[in-house]
């Protein structure tokens, strides 16, 4: 080893953060300092997009805020919910879009077509809307087999029928070989908001119950296994499903539903972090209450990932008035897609913005926003 260099980017990062801090004598001072730093306006430091920007975690959020919200600034966008709520002609509509780049295209439990329909249906459902119409855009790579495209379209038709929606418009583009990976699908959807209730994080109150509609992490682990790179076999299928029916069952039975979110990229942990931050309240999860299939647990242990961060495509998180939690569970469990619903945590005023986990071992830790990307291109 001869000459020596310094890492310019690191020196810059320290300067931009305001230089090294003075010595802290107490842990609390440091924690406060950190919360201030986290509250500062989002900035994308990287010059190029990395896979972390697509993971649904902190890098994704920073990108959306620093690039898109910054460019498009408007009050309808800023809540950054799963869909936008629009006032049109005296009524209210929900409008949402989602792109699908999953690899492999076909996997146990479904294919990109199922994800494309269910994904947008679910985004609309968790806004409290009745999904009605979808658009479907396709970007196809030169050389992609037409038989595969028929199969995908067939899946989409079946998924749409199951969800009670119609694909009413679309578009197709073809790019040269190598410029896209087989097939990418984008769907957008509109739904009608027939209920008075506003589902929003600002409705959340201390004492509210946090419910998940079923076992977590099945989709992400299924995709990971289907890729074949990790050479793992297991009896598992994606949980992709349209949630509008089970959501409606919940909303019909329980007036005290504060907000709903579907737990896709970044998993349940990401959704809860978003809600805790938006509501400026704390959430405490009970590790032993979180439903996880043992095979998902096994795969996650083997690979060193946490099921709380693994994507689902047929599960949602509901925050409901604590007193109505029992009724909510009853409503969910009465529906096939909510049969294993469980209360997994509570909202509290302490530690606002943080999600804590009471471990099965009897300790406590934070469940932070996802950093990096353990599983790229899972949806």
């Amino acid at each position: 080893m001869t000459t020596e260099r310094t890492a310019g980017w690191a020196e810059r990062a320290v300067r931009e953060a305001g230089g090294p801090a003075g010595t802290a004598t107490r842990e609390e001072e440091v924690l406060l300092r950190i919360e201030r730093a986290r509250g500062r306006r989002a900035r994308v430091r990287e010059e190029r997009i990395t896979l972390a920007h697509g993971a649904g975690g902190s890098a994704s959020h920073t990108l959306v805020e620093a690039v898109f919200v910054d460019a498009f600034r408007n009050p309808i966008l800023e809540p950054l919910g799963d869909g936008a709520v629009l006032e049109v002609g005296g009524g209210r509509l929900a409008f949402s879009t989602d792109s699908f780049v999953v690899f492999p295209l076909f996997f146990p439990g479904g294919d990109i077509g199922d994800l494309a329909v269910n994904g947008t249906v679910n985004d609309l459902a968790v806004c409290g809307a009745r999904p009605l119409y979808l658009s479907a855009g396709f970007i196809l790579e030169e050389g992609f087999p037409v038989a595969d495209l028929r199969r995908i379209a067939g899946s989409m038709a079946a998924a749409a029928a199951r969800a009670g929606v119609h694909v009413v418009t679309g578009d197709t583009k073809v790019v040269e070989r190598g410029k896209a990976d087989g097939c990418y699908v984008t769907t957008a959807g509109v739904g009608v908001l027939e209920r008075e209730t506003e589902l929003t994080p600002s409705a959340i109150r201390p004492g509210d119950a946090v419910i998940v509609s079923g076992p977590i992490g099945e989709h992400g682990v299924t995709i990971m296994i289907s890729r074949g790179e990790l050479d793992i076999e297991a009896d598992l299928a994606s949980d992709t499903a349209p949630l509008n029916g089970v959501v409606a069952a919940l909303l019909d039975a329980v007036p005290g539903v504060r907000v709903l979110r579907d737990a896709t990229r970044g998993g349940v942990a990401t959704v809860l972090n978003e809600l805790a931050r938006a509501a400026r309240l704390g959430i405490v999860l009970e590790e032993s209450a979180v439903p996880v299939r043992s095979v998902v647990n096994g795969a996650c242990e083997l690979l060193g990932i946490d099921p709380l961060y693994v994507a689902c495509e047929g599960r949602f998180v509901a925050v409901v008035d604590g007193e109505q939690a029992g009724r909510a569970l009853e409503a969910l469990r009465g529906h096939p897609l909510g049969a294993e619903a469980a209360v997994v945590g509570r909202v509290r005023a302490e530690a606002p913005g943080l999600v804590l986990l009471d471990t099965a071992f009897g300790g406590t830790r934070i469940v932070d926003m996802l950093v990096g990307d353990p599983l790229p291109r899972i949806c």
């Binding site: 080893m1 020596e4 980017w9 690191a10 842990e27 440091v30 430091r45 009897g362 300790g363 353990p374």
Partner: protein
């Protein structure tokens, strides 16, 4: 999960916690270092410290092989990855480790073919499937992982896979522990000893810690009850005035280690005269490289690596955190310039790094936690 769930039982933990509290002399402060990053991760992930009395203090050690990789070596690996025909393969934890000009993830975004693998055998498979490309495996880890790399090199040699090579960054645990013991800033009462490294090297190599330094060491498993039991065993030794090496992880760690694993390492690798450890400086005879007989699979000999040392940023205090002299939150850039998203130092990048563990799991005020242990 068998052999896992049983060692996470909360009721047993609470009772064991009471026994631990009983063994502590009132008014005395106990400081134990857990050497392995894996233990740091377990401690934070399960909230083990919530079961400890306030006068038992855990200090995090340097046993995180990702954390000790100097930025210059990351740059060297990226230089190899940038060769147009190279497929660089690496464990997931390496992907975001910052080098002088960025990480593997950044290099990948700029066009390098860098792929995550779970095992060196996966890298070998990629080499078989891509005969026209040169596949390089970024080998990191202590003695736990070195035998796997060695076996893979032997397999590559046996199959004549000329397009497979290894960029060897294996380091050894004993020199790391020695660096801790030689550090004047630290007062430790004992060590929560390596678990999986010990399945390879056995328990004997730690004897000098007890015999020459008078500190007890307990080889410890990775489930939270293992950690509590090891702390109990350390406190018992101190109460009885003993300083010995004990094995808590008897279900996995053989006292004599794994002869075949040691043979594989010895066959394929040799000691480097010296190697740079991030935060600890140059340490002699602390790392491994491939022997001449396996030069055909040694990426350092096949490729031109810049070999330029990159100095740690002035504000970086990884070295002190690695030695347990500073707690993560005491580092002046912790949580501000240095976060898991924007790590300056490796302690923040690796899932086993003390700073990452604390930031991701432990970063909250403990008043509530105290409630939990009395519940």
């Amino acid at each position: 999960m068998r052999f896992v769930d049983e060692y996470r039982d909360a009721r047993t933990a609470r009772a064991l916690a009471a026994r631990i509290a009983e063994l502590c002399e009132p008014g005395r402060r106990y400081t134990f270092m857990e050497v392995c990053g894996g233990h740091t991760h377990t401690i934070y992930k399960h909230g083990v410290e919530d079961h400890l009395p306030p006068n038992v203090n855990l200090v995090h050690g340097p046993g995180c092989p990702v954390c000790v990789i100097p930025m210059g070596r990351v740059d060297d690996a990226i230089a190899i990855a940038r060769e147009p025909d190279v497929i660089m393969t690496s464990f997931g934890d390496m992907m975001r480790v910052p080098g002088g000009e960025g990480s593997f993830l950044d290099a990948k975004a700029a066009g390098a073919d860098i792929r995550m693998v779970y095992s060196p055998l996966d890298a070998l498979r990629i080499a078989r499937q891509n005969p026209g490309r040169r596949v390089v495996f970024m080998a990191i880890g202590f003695e736990t992982t070195a035998p796997s790399t060695a076996m893979t090199v032997l397999r590559a040699a046996a199959e004549g896979l000329a397009n497979f090579s290894v960029f060897c960054n294996h380091v050894m645990i004993i020199p790391a522990i020695k660096a801790i013991l030689d550090s004047p800033d630290l007062r430790l009462d004992g060590f929560i000893g390596p678990g999986h490294v010990s399945t390879v090297i056995g328990c004997r190599p730690y004897a000098f810690i007890a015999e020459e330094h008078g500190k007890p060491l307990v080889c410890c498993g990775f489930e939270p009850l293992d950690v509590l039991q090891s702390i109990h065993m350390l406190l018992r030794q101190l109460a009885e005035g003993r300083a010995e090496v004990e094995n808590q992880y008897t279900r996995v760690v053989p006292w004599e280690g794994n002869g075949r694993a040691l043979e594989a390492i010895g066959k394929v690798m040799e000691l480097r005269p010296y190697f740079e450890w991030r935060g600890l400086g140059f340490i002699s005879h602390s790392a491994l490289r491939l022997r001449d007989a396996y030069a055909a699979h040694d990426a350092e000999r096949i490729f031109q690596v810049p070999g330029v040392r990159v100095a740690d940023p002035k504000a970086c205090q990884c070295g002190e955190v690695l030695k347990g002299v500073l707690k993560p939150w005491e580092c002046k850039v912790f949580g501000t310039a240095c976060t898991p998203e924007t790590p300056i130092g490796t302690c923040m990048v690796s899932s086993e790094g003390a700073c990452a563990a604390y930031y991701n799991f432990g970063r909250f005020t403990r008043s509530r936690a105290k409630e939990a242990t009395t519940a």
